[in-house]
Amino acid sequence: MNRRLKETIAGYCYLLPALVILIIFRIIPILYSVRISLYDWGMAGPRKFVGLKNYLDVLSDPVFWQSLLNTGWFVIFSVPLMLFLALFIALLLNTKIKGLGIYRTVYYLPVVTSIVAVSVVWKWILNPERGLLNYLLSFIGVKGIRWLEDPRGLFDIIFSSIGVKLPTILSGPSIAMLALIIMSVWKGLGYNIVIYLAGLQNIPNQYYEAAKIDGAGRWSIFRNVTWHLISPTTFYILIMSTIVAFETFAQVWIMTGPPPGGPLGTTKVVMYYFYEQSFELWRLGYGAAIAFFAFLIILTLTILQRVGLEKRVHYA
């Protein structure tokens, strides 16, 4: 037996356990989901081939577009907010202050704790009558925000106070969605701070020294040195937190409703809509079509990340 064949047999023997599981629980399901999406497929009863009908139905389903819009608001608000807060805090922590370890631990704690427990706790904090947040806000004169129950859009509230009526699509995230955004930023912040800190520590000191010698001010140093050299990290965080935001589910299941996704469907995100169609209504074909569109969006973002990292981002 030649050496090459021997190596090949050995290689696959070592890979066998991983391969078997991946084939059964990843590869076959991925291929199979294409088939399911072409059928009117319930958990029981007859299955009918419907071609591309599920995909077309999804595209003309107002609730799907609503869920996409909800997810969009979640992303547009939570991702930049998280990014700037994380960079700001990382910059503060990077100045060699005492007790960096403690700060890092404090910010990181929400990252390792479970989303379920954290959602349960935040639901209590956001309670409109007895919650901690409204109590604290009452000191600065803000009273009676019905956090998880208020379906009114943020921009809608702002603009209607000056008498402008906005179209529904521009009404912004509902107050309930805003509550989920605040909670999710709190939960994910620590991860991004740590990534930023690692990025900041990779910037060679001589750039700062050179900038100082050239007489650059603090803001100028930040703008022209730090922000430029940290851009690969920023781009990574931008894409990763967008992908994570698309997978938001537990917060909605636990904190909103009943029924979850409420009030008035303003917190129904894509992932929850997929869950509801697939595992509550058992419209598996339809669910598979929703999953396909979600995948398409995430794939686009991933490709953007690759292209962006190669072209637009500055390296040291």
Binding site: S33, G101, V106, A117, V120, Y135, L197, F249, F295
Partner: protein, 253 residues
């Protein structure tokens, strides 16, 4: 940042009446530690806890086993199709859960595994990212070590066991910590593949508890505290390692 956690613990030590008072008290007037034992009476919390420990432990064992073997093959054996297969693995990592969730459910259903521990363990016994981490590490080990082992009459598997594993402690700990956190906190999958209360893991148990008793705040906060406690303890012991491995893994991608 810590306030939600502090508030959780403070509420968990109040009487139900005091918890509902507004404006709220900060420190409990009566410290009611009995909330904690009551959680165990109210729901099968201890059962959930054991379920989670069991699921986490067996899953982790599987991840180590499949991970070390696959990483070793990718890093040290020149088999036919290696590069292609590795790309396939990496591509699989990028496919989001909803795409394979429904058919996986059907496969589990046909295996008769829905509502069993196997449904929560077996599909997760491979973690591609862990394979990737281990492979990167094993690739950096010097070939001389393997040659020396071969000369000493060590078989290929022997080299894996005697050379690779002892020299991979740091990445193995990283893999362990990552996956313990992921298993302990996993919610979506077990929510879907379990129906009966007796095999629910802790996260699903807590989630249902919060739906059924949505106003029983003192007990809910006590249950939440108990749910996150094991990971918080793990985190305090291994925080440096955890934070640094997250930071590194982020930059590598």
């Amino acid at each position: 940042m810590l306030l939600p956690f502090i508030w959780m613990i403070l509420t968990s030590l109040k009487t139900p009446l005091e918890a509902l008072r507004f404006p709220p008290t900060w420190l409990p007037e009566i410290w009611r530690f009995a909330n904690y034992p009551e959680v165990f009476q109210e729901i099968s919390f201890f059962r959930y806890f054991l379920n989670t420990v069991f699921i986490t432990a067996v899953t982790l064992f599987g991840i180590f086993l499949t991970g070390v073997l696959a990483a070793y093959a990718f890093a040290r054996i020149e088999f036919w199709g290696r590069e292609v297969l590795f790309i396939v693995f990496l591509a699989l990592m990028m496919i989001p859960l909803p795409v394979y969730l429904v058919p996986s459910y059907m496969i589990l259903f046909n295996l008769g595994w829905i509502d069993t521990y196997w449904a929560m363990i077996v599909p997760w016994m491979v973690n591609i990212f862990s394979i990737f981490l281990l492979r990167q590490h094993i690739k950096t080990l010097p070939q001389d070590l393997f040659d020396a082992a071969a000369i000493d009459g060590c078989s290929r598997f022997g080299a894996l066991w005697r050379v690779v594993v002892p020299l991979s402690k740091a990445p193995l700990v990283t893999v362990g910590v990552f996956n313990i956190i992921a298993s302990w906190n996993s919610f979506f999958w077990p929510l879907i593949v379990t129906h009966s209360d007796a095999i629910r893991p802790i996260q699903v148990g807590l989630a249902y508890f919060s739906r059924e008793q949505s106003t029983n705040y003192t007990l809910l906060m006590a249950a939440s505290t108990l749910t996150i406690l094991p990971l918080v303890i793990l985190f305090f012991f291994a925080q440096r390692h955890i934070i640094e491995s997250y930071a590194r893994s982020g930059l590598k991608e």
